[in-house]
Symmetry: C2
Subunit: 204 residues, 2 copies
């Protein structure tokens, strides 16, 4: 059911022995924990990650030359795979896509880290760029292709502005998740409601 990968970056840079994999996992977990507790990327130190993970700093530097790369890999492990389109109707696949976005807002740690990554995009342009590659672009591309397929099959009208339709669908979800208090959960039927409204339009 969920098979498509969100990006090519996995947490593992080079295949290692089990012990080294365990260390890597501890380092990634420690990074996620620190960021989810509100540590900014600017404040995050390799020392703190090492202490939390119970490894030496050299173990970290052997795999990641800088903390931005470490944060990118930590982020990549948190992003769930995108739901693969079923291809029965564009409407159904859009609901599934927005539903997956909605699920992500329920994951407190993912929400914290995405906030951190977005907030510091000016200071860490490399991080912002990788975040875009891993988390933003694959979602956009998939949603765009679902809408385009709807146009191609005649489910949607020929004149659809695909880029703007994608922005309206994603943007509506972004709008609701952005302005809510971070603790408040969004209604379960939000993906259905957004899809229905944007597909049907407002005109009488």
């Amino acid at each position: 059911m969920v098979t498509q990968q969100t990006g090519q970056a996995g947490p593992v840079r080079a295949p290692g022995r089990p012990r080294s994999e365990r260390a890597e996992r501890s380092i990634i977990d420690a990074t996620i924990d620190l960021l989810a507790e509100g540590t900014s990327v600017a404040e995050l130190s390799i020392e703190a990650v090492a202490a939390r993970a119970g490894v030496g700093k050299t173990t970290i530097y052997r795999r990641w030359s800088n903390k931005e790369d470490l944060v990118v890999d930590a982020l990549a492990t948190l992003k769930p795979p995108l739901p693969e389109p079923l291809g029965r109707s564009a409407r159904e696949d859009i609901v599934r896509h927005l539903g997956a976005m909605l699920q992500e807002t329920h994951d407190r740690r993912l929400r914290c880290i995405m906030t951190v990554a977005l907030n510091e995009s000016d200071r860490f342009p490399h991080l912002a760029e990788r975040f875009h590659e891993i988390a933003v672009k694959p979602r956009r591309d998939l949603l765009r292709s679902i809408i385009q397929r709807g146009v191609d099959t005649g489910e949607f009208r020929a004149g659809v502005d695909v880029e703007v339709a994608m922005a309206a669908l994603s943007g509506a979800m972004l709008f609701f998740s952005k302005w809510r208090g971070s603790g408040e959960e969004l209604p379960d039927d939000l993906a259905e409601r957004i899809t229905g409204q944007v597909l049907e339009g407002l005109y009488a």
Copy 2:
């Protein structure tokens, strides 16, 4: 043409003599300059504002008890008033509303300060709350009322999900402005395109 106020907060706390008004304006301008140059709210100091404005710290503290209030007032002076609905068609008023949002993305200083305010909303909840009151809520309320009027007059269908339609319209604009590089300007016809697509829907 533009008359509706975006909030009750003006930059002036108490009517003063011309000299005091000039000092107040210098303090506000200095605050805006520092934030627009990339100083975070956390980093912003009353000392730096005083030095930039050419006034003493006590002149600032006489009007603002803390820097969050100062940032709120600085923000309030930058937000242009919302365009008043013309009431001829909901479509026209929605285009005007989104057009005003688009204009704001062209204002580099406003963009910088809104980014700062949003980025630090966790650390400065009072600032985030005032930002919401001044900049977010009046826009939402106005857009919601325009859509509702369209339903009431029969221009839009009775089943419109007003809240979601508002989110789709605002969210689409947010989507485009958020993921662009901060230097890149959005196309002039974006407000028309978003309005057209969201009002017409996708169905054939």
